[in-house]
Amino acid sequence: MHSKASLILGAGIMLLAGAAIIIALDWPLKAKLFPLAIGIPVFVMATVEVIWGVLDPAARSEAMEFKLSEQASGRPGAARALTAIAWMVGFLAAIALLGYPIAIPLLVFLYLKLQGRERWMLSAAVALAVWGVFYAVFDELLHLPFPAGWIQQWLGLA
């Protein structure tokens, strides 16, 4: 996991930095000076990192910060991480299709019921409470615009 993630990241940065350098070459000097001054060393460092990773995959370097828990390793960990990502993608889709005011209580309720296996009443109560706070703070108090979902727009309800 550790070396694979590093390799993906290193290779991704190498490719993106390479592409960024090629794109920048067409710009006038004023615009390309900084992207090239940063892009070239980043490309070189990413190449070194990738080569280092390929030649010595066992070499570890711990960052002094948050580390993933032990449960994240192995196949079960990967499956759970994919579940987490699926919830986020699902929430994004719900926001786009239904809009925030509907997507928020829907996510909270479904997550508590399906993932948390909570009781119906508790799931509904928490969903309602979260929606209430969202509505009071962002809609009533701050008047922030949250557009209707695509479905409401297609149906002409928005």
């Binding site: 940065i13 004023k30 615009a31 370097s61 993933l68 997550y111």
Partner: protein, 503 residues
């Protein structure tokens, strides 16, 4: 001057001014807690309400609100690992790590106490520094500001991971942050860089969705994977016990707190650097205070010094950034630029008048910062135990609430779906960085500093050619950057040789 100082206090304590300050504190308290809703945005939203206020009332309201945002933003960072504010992201590294170890109370105690110390030092700096700071600000031109930014990145990149490979990754992450900052319209030639014909990208990537993605998403994924509460299965009685310990920590490491407060004040004074930079420089300084390489490994895993440094700096910068705003009409940050608008709405002109005719009003600002922070910290301590208990709430009850905060917080930055996509993209990058053992702090500092570095580099080269490299302050800062890179390597070598001696 003493007379004006007391007059300023009496002005703030007048019924209406005090009421407006308390109202501002109430708004700032919640704005700080909610991720995405920034202090600057709220200042802008609240600006129309000050039309009918007197200058003292107006500043009591605006500054009362703005000066507590960083304090309560730290609470969100510690408890959930989501930056409550862009200026409180550094608190996550050790603050949230402490919360996961069951030391949320201690982390909150430390961050609140250090925030108060920082705010008081920033306010004192505002009261005392105006005549002293003028020549200092005028000495710092573009070359010096560029070098301060480079020193900051060198500090963080070299200190945030171990060994040669860790340092390589640190610099790589910092470089990527600088590159990401180039997205958007180029300030010199007006070319749209890396925007791929997307109007959303023309203004560049906003800091908030990137920060939320890179810090919060890996934590949320891990919380779902673990299926436990934030603090795991630790006993509940440990949580609230530490609050006083956290306060004691502030005094145990008092000089570190003072130094980090001074760093925050100094960065606040420098136009264009801002609180987001201050917290990381303070974090880097705190990490550097470790005496051995082994001690340094504790940073990022819940070392209280990693909480005290950013906690102090992101509050002390408030007083610092008011100095150039009040004295010269040069705003040190976007918030101060909005506050400058408030000056004009209230019929005041920043500059010498604020230090002579309107000196009591200037001092009323100092008192507002002091009182607002004291009130907020007391209020937070009253609810501390309840706040800390959030970390033992069942994970699956918290996850949907945090997800809502993350998605709403990202979206409200620009009210654009692009913000959510940016947040998710950088969430994936953040997850890979955590999984691969890469430090995230240098990336964020690079991103924060990108525009500043580019502008100041361009002005330096255009104005001085290569001669800017020989300016005395630039040379001193360059030596500091080299020392920042070499210090951890020397420290690691010393540790190895001392271990060999003992063996």
């Amino acid at each position: 001057m003493i007379e004006a100082l007391f007059e300023g206090l009496l002005l703030v304590l007048q019924g209406k001014a005090l009421a407006f300050m308390l109202l501002g504190i109430g708004v700032g308290f919640w704005v700080g807690l909610l991720p995405g809703l920034g202090g600057a945005t709220t200042l802008a939203l609240m600006l129309p309400f000050i039309y009918s206020m007197t200058p003292v009332e107006g500043f009591a309201f605006l500054l009362g609100m703005h000066s507590v945002v960083a304090t309560t933003g730290d609470i969100t960072s510690v408890l959930f690992g989501i930056p409550g504010e862009g200026t409180t992201a550094a608190t996550i590294l050790d603050g949230h790590a402490m919360a996961k170890k069951g030391e949320a109370g201690r982390a909150l105690g430390a961050v609140l106490a250090s925030s108060l110390v920082g705010a008081l030092i920033g306010a004192a700096a505002l009261a005392l520094a105006v005549p002293v700071v003028r020549p200092l600000v005028l000495t710092f031109g573009s070359p010096e500001l560029f070098m301060i930014a480079i020193v900051g990145i060198a500090f963080i990149a070299s200190l945030s991971a171990q060994g040669g490979r860790g340092m390589l990754r640190g610099f790589l992450a910092g470089g990527v942050g600088l590159m990401v900052a180039t997205v958007g319209q180029d300030p010199q030639a007006g070319i749209a860089r890396y925007t791929f014909d997307s109007l959303y990208l023309w203004n560049g990537l906003d800091l908030v969705p990137v920060l939320i993605g890179i810090f919060a998403i890996p934590e949320i994924v891990d919380l779902i994977v673990r299926g436990t509460s934030i603090a795991g299965d630790l006993p509940r009685d440990r949580l609230s016990r530490g609050a006083l310990e956290g306060v004691k920590d502030t005094f145990r490491h008092f000089w570190l707190t003072i130094r980090c407060s001074l760093i925050g004040t100094f960065i606040g004074i420098m136009p264009g650097l801002g609180g987001a930079v201050a917290q990381w420089l303070a974090y880097g300084h705190a990490a550097q205070s470790a005496r051995t390489a082994e001690e340094r490994q504790g940073f990022g895993r819940g070392d209280v010094r990693g909480v005290l440094g950013p906690g102090a700096a992101n509050n002390s910068k408030e007083g610092g950034s008011l100095i150039p705003t009040v004295a010269f009409g040069v705003p040190g940050s976007s918030s101060m630029a909005i506050l400058l608008g408030g000056f004009f709405l209230l019929g005041l002109v920043p500059g010498p008048d604020m230090l002579t005719t309107h000196l009591p009003v200037t001092f009323s600002m100092v008192w507002t910062i002091v009182l607002a922070n004291i009130i907020t910290v007391i209020a937070c301590f009253l609810f501390l135990n309840h706040l800390a208990r959030i970390t033992v709430v069942r994970g699956h009850l918290l996850v949907p609430v945090i997800l809502v905060l993350v998605f709403v917080g990202s979206y409200t930055t620009n009210n654009h779906y692009g913000d959510i996509l940016v947040m998710l993209f950088f969430g994936a990058v953040g997850y890979l960085m955590v999984a691969g053992g890469w430090p995230r702090a240098p990336f964020v500092l690079g991103l924060v500093l990108g525009k500043i570095v580019e502008n100041n580099l361009y002005i330096s080269v255009a104005r001085y050619d290569a001669a800017w490299l020989t300016r005395p302050v630039v040379l001193v800062l360059m030596a500091l950057a080299v020392a920042a890179i070499l210090y951890p390597l020397i420290q690691a070598r010393r540790s190895v040789s001392s271990r060999e001696k003992h063996a």
